[in-house]
Protein backbone atom coordinates (compact mmCIF):
# COMPACT_ATOMS: atom_id res chain seq x y z
CA UNK A 1 0.00 0.00 0.00
CA UNK A 2 1.25 3.45 -0.95
CA UNK A 3 -0.20 6.21 1.21
CA UNK A 4 0.15 9.92 0.48
CA UNK A 5 -1.10 11.93 3.44
CA UNK A 6 -1.71 15.72 3.30
CA UNK A 7 1.24 16.16 1.00
CA UNK A 8 2.60 19.62 0.35
CA UNK A 9 5.62 20.19 -1.85
CA UNK A 10 7.00 23.67 -2.28
CA UNK A 11 10.12 24.32 -4.34
CA UNK A 12 12.66 27.02 -3.47
CA UNK A 13 11.21 30.25 -4.80
CA UNK A 14 7.79 29.47 -3.40
CA UNK A 15 6.26 27.42 -6.27
CA UNK A 16 3.76 24.95 -4.83
CA UNK A 17 3.76 21.70 -6.83
CA UNK A 18 1.53 19.72 -4.48
CA UNK A 19 -1.00 21.24 -2.14
CA UNK A 20 -2.50 18.89 0.43
CA UNK A 21 -2.76 15.69 -1.62
CA UNK A 22 -4.04 12.62 0.24
CA UNK A 23 -4.27 9.34 -1.62
CA UNK A 24 -4.00 5.58 -1.14
CA UNK A 25 -2.88 3.09 -3.76
CA UNK A 26 -3.42 -0.59 -3.11
CA UNK A 27 -0.87 -3.23 -4.05
CA UNK A 28 -1.33 -4.46 -7.64
CA UNK A 29 -3.28 -1.39 -8.79
CA UNK A 30 -2.81 0.21 -12.22
CA UNK A 31 -3.10 3.97 -11.70
CA UNK A 32 -3.06 6.59 -14.42
CA UNK A 33 -2.23 10.11 -13.27
CA UNK A 34 -3.42 12.82 -15.60
CA UNK A 35 -3.31 16.58 -15.68
CA UNK A 36 -1.77 19.47 -17.55
CA UNK A 37 1.90 20.38 -17.37
CA UNK A 38 2.69 21.69 -13.90
CA UNK A 39 -0.28 19.87 -12.34
CA UNK A 40 2.03 18.00 -9.96
CA UNK A 41 2.05 14.51 -11.59
CA UNK A 42 5.83 14.24 -11.86
CA UNK A 43 6.39 15.59 -8.36
CA UNK A 44 3.95 13.06 -6.93
CA UNK A 45 5.76 10.21 -8.69
CA UNK A 46 9.18 11.51 -7.60
CA UNK A 47 8.13 11.37 -3.96
CA UNK A 48 7.79 7.57 -4.13
CA UNK A 49 11.50 6.76 -4.75
CA UNK A 50 12.49 9.79 -2.59
CA UNK A 51 13.88 11.75 -5.56
CA UNK A 52 11.94 14.60 -3.97
CA UNK A 53 11.01 15.02 -0.32
CA UNK A 54 7.70 16.57 0.79
CA UNK A 55 7.70 19.97 2.47
CA UNK A 56 5.02 18.61 4.79
CA UNK A 57 2.84 15.53 4.98
CA UNK A 58 3.98 11.93 4.64
CA UNK A 59 4.51 9.25 2.01
CA UNK A 60 4.38 5.67 3.22
CA UNK A 61 5.08 2.44 1.38
CA UNK A 62 3.77 -0.33 3.57
CA UNK A 63 4.99 0.51 7.05
CA UNK A 64 7.92 2.58 5.82
CA UNK A 65 7.71 6.40 6.03
CA UNK A 66 9.57 7.49 2.88
CA UNK A 67 9.40 11.18 3.77
CA UNK A 68 11.69 10.59 6.76
CA UNK A 69 13.90 7.92 5.24
CA UNK A 70 17.61 8.54 5.96
CA UNK A 71 19.66 9.37 2.86
CA UNK A 72 21.74 6.20 3.15
CA UNK A 73 18.58 4.05 3.03
CA UNK A 74 17.27 5.62 -0.20
CA UNK A 75 19.27 3.39 -2.61
CA UNK A 76 17.78 0.25 -1.05
CA UNK A 77 14.26 1.70 -1.41
CA UNK A 78 14.87 2.46 -5.08
CA UNK A 79 15.95 -1.10 -5.82
CA UNK A 80 12.35 -2.16 -5.25
CA UNK A 81 10.89 0.56 -7.48
CA UNK A 82 11.17 0.48 -11.27
CA UNK A 83 11.33 3.90 -12.90
CA UNK A 84 10.62 4.89 -16.50
CA UNK A 85 11.08 8.54 -17.33
CA UNK A 86 10.06 10.69 -20.28
CA UNK A 87 13.60 10.43 -21.66
CA UNK A 88 14.87 6.86 -21.71
CA UNK A 89 17.99 7.85 -19.72
CA UNK A 90 19.87 4.92 -21.24
CA UNK A 91 23.66 5.00 -21.13
CA UNK A 92 24.68 5.53 -24.73
CA UNK A 93 28.21 4.20 -24.29
CA UNK A 94 26.90 0.79 -23.21
CA UNK A 95 25.09 -1.90 -25.14
CA UNK A 96 21.38 -2.56 -24.61
CA UNK A 97 22.40 -5.68 -22.67
CA UNK A 98 24.70 -3.74 -20.33
CA UNK A 99 22.06 -1.07 -19.78
CA UNK A 100 19.51 -3.65 -18.69
CA UNK A 101 22.15 -5.47 -16.61
CA UNK A 102 23.04 -2.35 -14.58
CA UNK A 103 20.26 -2.57 -11.93
CA UNK A 104 21.14 -6.22 -11.36
CA UNK A 105 24.81 -5.39 -10.81
CA UNK A 106 23.81 -2.63 -8.41
CA UNK A 107 21.56 -5.09 -6.60
CA UNK A 108 24.39 -7.62 -6.35
CA UNK A 109 22.86 -10.42 -8.45
CA UNK A 110 25.22 -13.29 -9.32
CA UNK A 111 26.33 -13.08 -12.99
CA UNK A 112 24.49 -16.27 -14.08
CA UNK A 113 21.18 -15.22 -12.57
CA UNK A 114 21.63 -11.69 -13.92
CA UNK A 115 22.15 -13.01 -17.46
CA UNK A 116 18.95 -15.09 -17.25
CA UNK A 117 16.96 -12.10 -15.99
CA UNK A 118 18.30 -9.81 -18.73
CA UNK A 119 17.37 -12.43 -21.33
CA UNK A 120 13.83 -12.66 -19.93
CA UNK A 121 13.48 -8.86 -19.84
CA UNK A 122 14.66 -8.59 -23.45
CA UNK A 123 12.09 -11.18 -24.50
CA UNK A 124 9.38 -9.36 -22.61
CA UNK A 125 9.96 -6.01 -24.34
CA UNK A 126 10.62 -7.59 -27.75
CA UNK A 127 14.27 -6.65 -27.99
CA UNK A 128 15.67 -10.15 -28.12
CA UNK A 129 18.50 -10.23 -30.65
CA UNK A 130 19.17 -6.52 -30.27
CA UNK A 131 21.07 -6.77 -26.99
CA UNK A 132 24.50 -6.15 -28.49
CA UNK A 133 23.41 -2.95 -30.17
CA UNK A 134 23.99 0.45 -28.64
CA UNK A 135 21.02 2.71 -27.78
CA UNK A 136 21.90 5.13 -30.60
CA UNK A 137 21.08 2.35 -33.07
CA UNK A 138 17.53 1.93 -31.71
CA UNK A 139 14.40 3.88 -32.56
CA UNK A 140 12.76 6.07 -29.90
CA UNK A 141 10.19 3.38 -29.15
CA UNK A 142 12.88 0.70 -28.88
CA UNK A 143 14.92 2.88 -26.57
CA UNK A 144 11.90 3.35 -24.35
CA UNK A 145 11.32 -0.42 -24.36
CA UNK A 146 14.93 -0.96 -23.33
CA UNK A 147 14.39 1.55 -20.51
CA UNK A 148 11.27 -0.36 -19.45
CA UNK A 149 13.22 -3.63 -19.48
CA UNK A 150 15.83 -1.96 -17.26
CA UNK A 151 13.10 -0.75 -14.90
CA UNK A 152 11.51 -4.19 -14.69
CA UNK A 153 14.54 -6.48 -14.70
CA UNK A 154 14.87 -6.27 -10.90
CA UNK A 155 11.22 -7.42 -10.65
CA UNK A 156 10.18 -4.47 -8.51
CA UNK A 157 6.88 -4.42 -6.65
CA UNK A 158 6.18 -0.85 -7.81
CA UNK A 159 6.70 0.58 -11.29
CA UNK A 160 6.39 4.32 -11.89
CA UNK A 161 6.45 5.93 -15.31
CA UNK A 162 6.51 9.63 -16.05
CA UNK A 163 5.20 10.43 -19.53
CA UNK A 164 6.72 7.24 -20.98
CA UNK A 165 5.03 7.71 -24.35
CA UNK A 166 5.52 11.46 -24.73
CA UNK A 167 7.83 11.34 -27.76
CA UNK A 168 6.48 8.21 -29.40
CA UNK A 169 4.29 7.48 -32.40
CA UNK A 170 0.80 6.23 -31.47
CA UNK A 171 1.69 2.66 -32.49
CA UNK A 172 4.80 2.60 -30.30
CA UNK A 173 2.92 4.34 -27.49
CA UNK A 174 0.23 1.63 -27.58
CA UNK A 175 2.93 -1.07 -27.35
CA UNK A 176 4.41 0.63 -24.30
CA UNK A 177 1.00 0.91 -22.63
CA UNK A 178 0.52 -2.79 -23.36
CA UNK A 179 3.78 -3.56 -21.56
CA UNK A 180 2.67 -1.68 -18.46
CA UNK A 181 -0.59 -3.59 -18.46
CA UNK A 182 1.30 -6.89 -18.66
CA UNK A 183 3.49 -5.92 -15.70
CA UNK A 184 0.40 -4.99 -13.75
CA UNK A 185 -1.08 -8.33 -14.71
CA UNK A 186 1.95 -9.92 -13.00
CA UNK A 187 0.99 -8.19 -9.72
CA UNK A 188 3.15 -5.08 -9.97
CA UNK A 189 1.68 -1.79 -8.73
CA UNK A 190 1.94 0.53 -11.74
CA UNK A 191 1.62 4.33 -11.64
CA UNK A 192 1.77 6.12 -14.97
CA UNK A 193 1.69 9.88 -15.38
CA UNK A 194 0.50 10.73 -18.87
CA UNK A 195 -1.24 13.34 -20.98
CA UNK A 196 -2.75 10.59 -23.08
CA UNK A 197 -5.14 8.69 -20.80
CA UNK A 198 -6.84 7.11 -23.80
CA UNK A 199 -3.88 4.74 -24.22
CA UNK A 200 -4.99 2.89 -21.09
CA UNK A 201 -8.76 3.09 -21.53
CA UNK A 202 -9.14 -0.59 -22.57
CA UNK A 203 -8.04 -1.80 -19.14
CA UNK A 204 -10.20 0.50 -17.00
CA UNK A 205 -7.39 1.63 -14.74
CA UNK A 206 -7.89 3.83 -11.73
CA UNK A 207 -7.67 7.41 -13.02
CA UNK A 208 -6.46 10.26 -10.85
CA UNK A 209 -6.52 13.82 -12.13
CA UNK A 210 -4.38 16.59 -10.69
CA UNK A 211 -4.59 20.32 -11.32
CA UNK A 212 -2.35 22.96 -9.77
CA UNK A 213 -1.08 20.53 -7.18
CA UNK A 214 -4.52 19.43 -5.99
CA UNK A 215 -6.43 16.20 -6.43
CA UNK A 216 -9.32 17.02 -8.78
CA UNK A 217 -11.09 13.75 -9.43
CA UNK A 218 -10.79 10.01 -9.06
Amino acid sequence: MIVFDKLVKQYPGGYTALDGVSLQIAPGELVVLSGHSGAGKSTLLKLIPAIERPTSGTVRIGEQDISRLPRRAVPYLRRNIGMVLQESRLLFDRSVYDNILLPLIINGHPPGDAARRVGAALDLVGLHGREKEFPAGLSGGEQQRAAIARAFVNRPSILIADEPTAHLDPAYAAEIAELFKSFNGAGVTVLVATHDVSLFRHWAPRRIALARGRLMEE
Binding site: L77, R78, M83, L102, I105, P111
Partner: protein, 298 residues
Protein backbone atom coordinates in the same frame (compact mmCIF):
# COMPACT_ATOMS: atom_id res chain seq x y z
CA UNK B 1 32.50 -11.70 -0.03
CA UNK B 2 32.19 -13.16 -3.55
CA UNK B 3 29.78 -10.37 -4.47
CA UNK B 4 32.19 -7.77 -3.04
CA UNK B 5 35.01 -9.21 -5.18
CA UNK B 6 32.71 -9.31 -8.22
CA UNK B 7 31.75 -5.63 -7.75
CA UNK B 8 35.40 -4.67 -7.36
CA UNK B 9 36.42 -6.64 -10.44
CA UNK B 10 33.68 -4.89 -12.44
CA UNK B 11 34.77 -1.50 -11.10
CA UNK B 12 38.37 -2.37 -11.99
CA UNK B 13 37.42 -3.30 -15.57
CA UNK B 14 35.27 -0.17 -15.83
CA UNK B 15 38.19 1.99 -14.69
CA UNK B 16 40.51 0.25 -17.17
CA UNK B 17 38.01 0.91 -19.96
CA UNK B 18 37.77 4.58 -19.01
CA UNK B 19 41.56 4.87 -19.03
CA UNK B 20 41.76 2.97 -22.34
CA UNK B 21 39.02 5.14 -23.79
CA UNK B 22 41.25 8.20 -23.58
CA UNK B 23 44.74 6.85 -24.31
CA UNK B 24 46.37 10.24 -24.87
CA UNK B 25 45.04 11.69 -21.62
CA UNK B 26 46.05 8.53 -19.75
CA UNK B 27 49.55 8.69 -21.25
CA UNK B 28 49.95 12.36 -20.32
CA UNK B 29 48.75 11.78 -16.76
CA UNK B 30 51.11 8.80 -16.39
CA UNK B 31 53.99 10.92 -17.72
CA UNK B 32 53.19 13.79 -15.33
CA UNK B 33 53.01 11.39 -12.38
CA UNK B 34 56.03 9.41 -13.56
CA UNK B 35 58.32 12.41 -14.07
CA UNK B 36 57.23 13.97 -10.77
CA UNK B 37 57.87 10.69 -8.93
CA UNK B 38 61.11 9.99 -10.79
CA UNK B 39 62.75 13.06 -9.23
CA UNK B 40 62.53 11.96 -5.57
CA UNK B 41 62.82 8.25 -6.47
CA UNK B 42 65.89 8.85 -8.65
CA UNK B 43 67.39 11.18 -6.04
CA UNK B 44 66.91 8.53 -3.36
CA UNK B 45 68.51 5.79 -5.48
CA UNK B 46 71.43 8.07 -6.42
CA UNK B 47 72.04 8.99 -2.78
CA UNK B 48 71.84 5.33 -1.86
CA UNK B 49 74.56 4.61 -4.43
CA UNK B 50 76.72 7.44 -3.04
CA UNK B 51 76.25 6.17 0.52
CA UNK B 52 77.28 2.65 -0.53
CA UNK B 53 80.30 4.15 -2.34
CA UNK B 54 81.29 6.15 0.73
CA UNK B 55 81.03 3.07 2.94
CA UNK B 56 83.15 1.09 0.47
CA UNK B 57 85.85 3.73 0.07
CA UNK B 58 86.22 4.54 3.75
CA UNK B 59 86.81 0.88 4.71
CA UNK B 60 88.44 0.68 8.14
CA UNK B 61 88.86 4.15 9.63
CA UNK B 62 92.50 5.28 9.75
CA UNK B 63 94.50 8.16 11.23
CA UNK B 64 97.82 9.23 9.67
CA UNK B 65 100.48 10.76 11.97
CA UNK B 66 103.13 12.73 10.12
CA UNK B 67 106.32 13.32 12.10
CA UNK B 68 108.12 16.60 11.86
CA UNK B 69 111.34 16.76 9.81
CA UNK B 70 113.54 16.92 12.88
CA UNK B 71 112.16 13.77 14.45
CA UNK B 72 114.86 11.13 14.67
CA UNK B 73 114.50 7.40 15.20
CA UNK B 74 114.47 7.81 18.98
CA UNK B 75 111.51 10.18 18.72
CA UNK B 76 109.78 7.74 16.36
CA UNK B 77 110.32 4.90 18.85
CA UNK B 78 108.88 7.08 21.63
CA UNK B 79 105.77 7.73 19.57
CA UNK B 80 105.54 4.03 18.74
CA UNK B 81 105.56 3.07 22.42
CA UNK B 82 102.90 5.69 23.19
CA UNK B 83 100.75 4.28 20.37
CA UNK B 84 101.24 0.80 21.78
CA UNK B 85 99.83 2.04 25.09
CA UNK B 86 96.66 3.42 23.48
CA UNK B 87 93.75 1.02 24.21
CA UNK B 88 91.53 2.17 21.32
CA UNK B 89 93.96 1.23 18.55
CA UNK B 90 93.45 -1.90 16.54
CA UNK B 91 96.85 -1.72 14.84
CA UNK B 92 99.46 0.67 13.51
CA UNK B 93 102.39 0.56 11.11
CA UNK B 94 105.38 2.77 10.55
CA UNK B 95 105.79 4.20 7.01
CA UNK B 96 109.35 5.50 6.53
CA UNK B 97 109.70 8.57 4.30
CA UNK B 98 111.57 6.57 1.61
CA UNK B 99 108.74 4.03 1.39
CA UNK B 100 106.22 6.88 1.18
CA UNK B 101 108.19 8.35 -1.72
CA UNK B 102 108.23 5.01 -3.50
CA UNK B 103 104.45 4.69 -3.03
CA UNK B 104 103.98 8.16 -4.43
CA UNK B 105 106.12 7.37 -7.47
CA UNK B 106 104.28 4.13 -8.11
CA UNK B 107 100.95 5.93 -7.96
CA UNK B 108 101.79 7.64 -11.27
CA UNK B 109 103.11 10.91 -9.91
CA UNK B 110 106.75 10.05 -10.72
CA UNK B 111 106.92 12.76 -13.42
CA UNK B 112 105.87 15.43 -10.95
CA UNK B 113 108.60 14.37 -8.55
CA UNK B 114 111.18 14.09 -11.32
CA UNK B 115 112.84 17.45 -10.63
CA UNK B 116 113.02 17.00 -6.86
CA UNK B 117 116.38 15.82 -5.53
CA UNK B 118 115.55 15.76 -1.83
CA UNK B 119 112.71 13.58 -0.45
CA UNK B 120 110.19 16.13 0.94
CA UNK B 121 108.00 13.54 2.64
CA UNK B 122 108.05 12.95 6.42
CA UNK B 123 108.08 9.64 8.28
CA UNK B 124 104.56 8.61 9.28
CA UNK B 125 102.48 6.16 11.30
CA UNK B 126 99.22 4.85 9.89
CA UNK B 127 96.90 3.96 12.75
CA UNK B 128 93.82 1.77 12.55
CA UNK B 129 91.13 2.18 15.22
CA UNK B 130 88.75 -0.16 16.94
CA UNK B 131 85.11 0.71 16.12
CA UNK B 132 83.88 3.64 14.09
CA UNK B 133 82.70 6.10 16.74
CA UNK B 134 83.35 9.60 15.24
CA UNK B 135 83.84 11.09 18.70
CA UNK B 136 86.61 8.59 19.43
CA UNK B 137 88.40 9.67 16.22
CA UNK B 138 88.23 13.30 17.22
CA UNK B 139 89.41 12.77 20.83
CA UNK B 140 92.28 10.52 19.80
CA UNK B 141 93.36 12.86 16.98
CA UNK B 142 93.38 15.82 19.34
CA UNK B 143 95.46 13.90 21.90
CA UNK B 144 98.00 12.64 19.37
CA UNK B 145 98.29 16.12 17.86
CA UNK B 146 99.89 17.28 21.16
CA UNK B 147 102.62 14.63 21.24
CA UNK B 148 106.16 15.89 20.72
CA UNK B 149 107.52 15.13 17.23
CA UNK B 150 104.05 14.94 15.62
CA UNK B 151 103.74 17.61 12.93
CA UNK B 152 100.30 16.79 11.55
CA UNK B 153 97.46 14.38 12.22
CA UNK B 154 95.11 13.54 9.39
CA UNK B 155 91.82 11.85 9.92
CA UNK B 156 91.45 9.83 6.72
CA UNK B 157 87.73 9.38 7.11
CA UNK B 158 86.96 13.10 7.45
CA UNK B 159 85.85 13.49 3.84
CA UNK B 160 83.74 10.37 4.10
CA UNK B 161 82.03 11.86 7.14
CA UNK B 162 81.44 15.06 5.24
CA UNK B 163 80.06 13.05 2.36
CA UNK B 164 77.81 11.11 4.73
CA UNK B 165 76.54 14.38 6.18
CA UNK B 166 75.87 15.63 2.64
CA UNK B 167 74.07 12.39 1.80
CA UNK B 168 71.96 12.88 4.95
CA UNK B 169 71.18 16.42 3.84
CA UNK B 170 70.37 15.13 0.36
CA UNK B 171 67.99 12.56 1.84
CA UNK B 172 66.13 15.30 3.71
CA UNK B 173 65.89 17.33 0.49
CA UNK B 174 64.59 14.25 -1.34
CA UNK B 175 62.02 13.68 1.42
CA UNK B 176 60.79 17.28 1.22
CA UNK B 177 60.71 16.98 -2.58
CA UNK B 178 58.74 13.72 -2.32
CA UNK B 179 56.17 15.34 -0.01
CA UNK B 180 55.77 18.41 -2.26
CA UNK B 181 55.59 16.44 -5.49
CA UNK B 182 53.32 13.89 -3.81
CA UNK B 183 50.98 16.72 -2.95
CA UNK B 184 51.12 17.89 -6.56
CA UNK B 185 50.21 14.40 -7.74
CA UNK B 186 47.25 14.24 -5.36
CA UNK B 187 46.07 17.53 -6.90
CA UNK B 188 46.60 16.20 -10.44
CA UNK B 189 44.55 13.07 -9.66
CA UNK B 190 41.95 15.17 -7.84
CA UNK B 191 41.46 17.23 -10.99
CA UNK B 192 41.44 14.23 -13.34
CA UNK B 193 38.76 12.55 -11.23
CA UNK B 194 36.76 15.80 -11.11
CA UNK B 195 36.71 15.80 -14.92
CA UNK B 196 35.82 12.11 -14.92
CA UNK B 197 32.88 12.78 -12.60
CA UNK B 198 31.67 15.56 -14.89
CA UNK B 199 32.00 13.25 -17.92
CA UNK B 200 30.17 10.42 -16.14
CA UNK B 201 27.49 12.70 -14.67
CA UNK B 202 24.65 11.02 -16.58
CA UNK B 203 25.82 7.55 -15.58
CA UNK B 204 26.07 8.60 -11.95
CA UNK B 205 22.56 10.07 -11.97
CA UNK B 206 21.09 6.99 -13.67
CA UNK B 207 22.91 4.65 -11.28
CA UNK B 208 21.52 6.59 -8.32
CA UNK B 209 18.00 6.32 -9.73
CA UNK B 210 18.51 2.57 -10.04
CA UNK B 211 19.52 2.27 -6.38
CA UNK B 212 23.29 2.57 -6.46
CA UNK B 213 24.89 3.44 -3.15
CA UNK B 214 27.60 6.11 -2.94
CA UNK B 215 30.12 3.33 -2.35
CA UNK B 216 29.09 1.64 -5.61
CA UNK B 217 29.48 4.91 -7.52
CA UNK B 218 32.83 5.76 -5.92
CA UNK B 219 34.45 2.37 -6.56
CA UNK B 220 35.42 2.82 -10.26
CA UNK B 221 36.86 6.26 -9.49
CA UNK B 222 39.05 4.82 -6.72
CA UNK B 223 40.30 2.19 -9.15
CA UNK B 224 40.81 4.88 -11.79
CA UNK B 225 43.04 6.88 -9.39
CA UNK B 226 44.87 3.74 -8.28
CA UNK B 227 45.50 2.59 -11.85
CA UNK B 228 46.75 6.03 -12.77
CA UNK B 229 49.15 5.62 -9.86
CA UNK B 230 50.30 2.22 -11.19
CA UNK B 231 51.05 3.66 -14.62
CA UNK B 232 52.70 6.74 -13.09
CA UNK B 233 54.81 4.54 -10.80
CA UNK B 234 55.92 2.35 -13.71
CA UNK B 235 56.86 5.43 -15.77
CA UNK B 236 58.82 6.73 -12.76
CA UNK B 237 60.71 3.42 -12.45
CA UNK B 238 61.45 3.45 -16.18
CA UNK B 239 62.70 7.03 -15.95
CA UNK B 240 64.95 6.16 -12.98
CA UNK B 241 66.38 3.13 -14.80
CA UNK B 242 67.06 5.20 -17.91
CA UNK B 243 68.55 8.00 -15.79
CA UNK B 244 70.87 5.59 -13.96
CA UNK B 245 71.87 4.00 -17.24
CA UNK B 246 72.73 7.39 -18.73
CA UNK B 247 74.67 8.44 -15.61
CA UNK B 248 76.48 5.12 -15.09
CA UNK B 249 79.33 5.73 -17.55
CA UNK B 250 80.14 9.36 -16.64
CA UNK B 251 80.01 8.52 -12.91
CA UNK B 252 82.29 5.50 -13.44
CA UNK B 253 84.77 7.70 -15.32
CA UNK B 254 84.79 10.33 -12.56
CA UNK B 255 85.22 7.60 -9.91
CA UNK B 256 88.05 6.04 -11.91
CA UNK B 257 90.07 9.26 -11.64
CA UNK B 258 89.89 8.80 -7.84
CA UNK B 259 91.00 5.20 -8.18
CA UNK B 260 87.59 3.82 -7.34
CA UNK B 261 85.43 1.43 -9.33
CA UNK B 262 81.79 2.48 -9.23
CA UNK B 263 78.82 0.76 -10.84
CA UNK B 264 75.57 2.70 -10.36
CA UNK B 265 72.70 0.41 -9.50
CA UNK B 266 69.04 1.00 -10.39
CA UNK B 267 66.15 0.50 -7.96
CA UNK B 268 65.90 -2.96 -6.42
CA UNK B 269 62.68 -4.95 -5.93
CA UNK B 270 61.88 -3.24 -2.64
CA UNK B 271 62.50 0.28 -3.96
CA UNK B 272 60.44 -0.53 -7.08
CA UNK B 273 57.56 -1.85 -4.99
CA UNK B 274 57.68 1.14 -2.65
CA UNK B 275 57.70 3.58 -5.61
CA UNK B 276 54.68 1.95 -7.28
CA UNK B 277 52.85 1.54 -3.95
CA UNK B 278 53.51 5.20 -3.14
CA UNK B 279 52.14 6.22 -6.56
CA UNK B 280 49.04 4.02 -6.08
CA UNK B 281 48.45 5.51 -2.63
CA UNK B 282 48.72 9.05 -4.05
CA UNK B 283 46.35 8.25 -6.94
CA UNK B 284 43.86 6.59 -4.59
CA UNK B 285 44.06 9.48 -2.12
CA UNK B 286 43.51 12.10 -4.86
CA UNK B 287 40.54 10.09 -6.15
CA UNK B 288 39.06 9.66 -2.67
CA UNK B 289 39.22 13.39 -1.90
CA UNK B 290 37.87 14.35 -5.32
CA UNK B 291 35.02 11.83 -5.25
CA UNK B 292 33.92 12.89 -1.76
CA UNK B 293 34.05 16.54 -2.79
CA UNK B 294 32.43 16.32 -6.21
CA UNK B 295 29.90 13.48 -5.99
CA UNK B 296 27.85 15.58 -3.60
CA UNK B 297 27.56 18.20 -6.37
CA UNK B 298 26.17 15.81 -9.01
Amino acid sequence: MRNWLYLHSRAFVQALKRLGGQPFGTLLSALVMGVALALPAGGYILLDNIAVLARGVSGTPEISLFLDGKADSARAEAIESRLRAEPDLASFRFVPRDEALKQLESSGLGDVLGGITVNPLPDAFVVTLRGDDPELFETLSARIRGWPGVAHVQLDSAWVKRLSALVGLGRTVVLVLAVLLGLTLVIVTFNTIRLQILTQKNEIEVSRLLGATDRFIRRPFYWFGGLQGVFGGLVALGAVWIGMDVLAEPVAKVAETYGAAVALGGPGWLESLVTVAFAIALGWLGAAISVRRHLAET
